[in-house]
Symmetry: C2
Subunit: 338 residues, 2 copies
DNA sequence: TTGTATGCGTTATCAA
DNA sequence: TTGATAACGCATACAA
């Protein structure tokens, strides 16, 4: 039961293939067709359940309406960071009738494999997001130089010629810190893993005239953004007796760990210590106290990247963009949110 | 800067196109090639950065190595249900060098659109998951009848000829209920939205010789699986003074809502009331008490569906499968977990 | 050991 | 108003 092609329609309608093609595409050009014949052709096409063969069109026209999406996942499970990004990309793609080939990669090898297939000509371009593969910078740049439209969603651009949608991580760190300052905290501790955000914290502390003392800092190290990092850090801060009244966490998971541990030890959040998370994960609403957090807006990033891609594809000159983080005030920082 | 084709290599190596094709594919058949010439060809291919044109191959061979994945999202944000399913599908796909065209759909129209393009011949088949589109049953069945391999991941098969990877929802409801029975609960309330799970609850209660009274039931209705449904239900159970000592929730969000509300009202979980969630979302670990939950194993479902698809594609006869849910005991049910 | 010819399904150019 | 033909890039049966 092979597929129905223009040829089959042509035969059953007793006309030429090219005429069928013209009629079905409403692309008659200079030529005209008698209405009855056109109808007959369309009817046959309908009857035989004709569908275009995308491969043939791609071969013929050199375009595919397929965009490769390569994402190196990041964020703890439940953060929703990647899911929102994909959702953003995908919503715009659908509205523009573009198909998405989605690839989750982890290693450089996997990434490279996709890049190859990118130039294998089954996609019109790529949107690359998540953790950057800096080692593949030149491979990616080469694809771009060969004319493949590429947009990235990383913290910073990987190449001058490849527009990037990023978010100002330093601003995120600063925003959280500033919020706690405004809430009246003066001894603000910081669990950090992301360097830029740490810079943001440091700068904000400086601007507020507050001291950044080593005993207020905890490097998450291999615990990264995990719940465990939060528990461990909170324990450390308590052990150090550093008299903290606020903690800027580097993830919502860390914040959850901090909050649970502090409360277990009889310390009240937010009355005694105010806490902020990062990423605005859905579960921020469920923890008690609910977690004040900062959205990285990966959904917006995905949408914007797709728009930029489309612009780029149609020959436009595209500039990179930087998104502004957004603060969601909830109970854990003692704000008036929720 | 057009793409490099076999022709370009043939010209630059001064041989025929077909020979280049044979050499590059190591598909010499009966014919032999002198080693030097083969080397020369390969060198030229390398030098010119030759990449196959996937569209041409698809056209020629009638296969694409592309599988359409259509998912109608379900589960509250943060449940990870869909993400895990995609992850499962995608991990197997990658290991088999298959590309995935991922589509998130909501409406029947969107779904139908994809089905069209499915038969447009740009994919070798489809894996359909998430909420079923029963109205499109026949459209999907038609695709299958036309020879397109299709596997679904729904609660139950939509068509006899389309193998499904499901999970026994009734078993899930039963498992949660049984667990609370084993924990010593005798007045077990149920917040329900999913009918099958509700049946499981009812049956398990019956088998345990426990009464299922209307005052122990709360239909989530339009609140579905939300946190709000949990809060509202818990409030209702309290108002009814129905003397409950356990609550089987229909989602982890509901469970979080229940737990937070009960604790606000001074009721201890799990000492006074034991609670179970559903879906085993990542945040189950973060709530205090942590939430006992049941995994639907959507990651496994995704992996299995992909395996079945591949089997089906290669002509094998494939049977549907039913996964067993898995209980994760944590604090909220007073188990010895965590 | 190498090359020629054909066709996959489509569209565009040109001829009738 | 309609049709024949070439071309997209590739793989294969067959000829040399």
């Amino acid at each position: 039961m092979s597929r129905v092609s223009l040829k089959d329609i042509a035969q059953s309608a007793d006309v030429s293939i090219s005429l069928v093609s013209k009629v079905l595409n409403n692309r008659l050009g200079t030529t005209g067709v008698s209405p009855e014949l056109a109808d007959k052709i369309r009817q046959q096409a309908e009857k035989l359940h004709y569908r275009q063969n995308a491969s043939a069109i791609a071969l013929r026209q050199g375009r595919h309406d397929v965009i490769g999406v390569i994402i190196h996942r990041y964020g703890e499970p439940g953060s929703g960071l990647v899911e929102n990004m994909v959702e953003g990309i995908s919503s715009i793609a659908r509205s523009r009738q573009k198909k998405l080939i989605l690839n989750f990669v982890e290693t450089d090898e996997e990434f490279l494999e996709i890049c190859k297939s990118a130039h294998q000509g089954n996609m019109d371009g790529m949107i690359i997001g998540g953790l950057p593969h800096m080692k593949l910078k030149s491979s990616i740049a080469r694809l771009r130089e060969n004319g493949l439209p590429i947009v990235t969603i990383h913290d910073r651009p990987i190449h001058a010629e490849i527009p990037n949608v990023g978010i100002d991580q330093a601003a995120i760190g600063g925003l959280a810190t500033l919020h706690l300052v405004e809430q009246g905290c003066t001894r603000i501790a910081h669990i950090f893993h992301n360097e830029k955000r740490h810079d943001g914290y440091t700068d904000a502390m400086g601007e507020a005239g507050l001291a950044v003392e080593p005993e207020l800092l905890f490097n998450a190290g291999t615990m990264r953004y995990s719940y465990l990092a939060g528990e461990t850090a909170a324990t450390a801060f308590l052990d150090r007796k550093c008299g903290f009244d606020g903690i800027v966490c580097d993830s919502d998971q860390q914040a959850a760990g901090v909050i649970n541990l502090l409360q277990e030890r009889g310390i009240r959040v937010p009355q005694d210590v105010k806490v902020t998370g990062m990423d605005n994960a859905p579960f921020c609403e469920y923890i008690r106290p609910s977690i004040t957090s900062i959205s990285q807006k990966t959904r917006n990033a995905g949408e914007l990247a797709m728009h930029m891609f489309l612009e780029m594809e149609s020959g436009g000159r595209v500039e990179g963009a930087m998104l502004e983080p957004e603060l969601f005030v909830r109970q854990s920082s003692g704000g008036n949110g929720e």
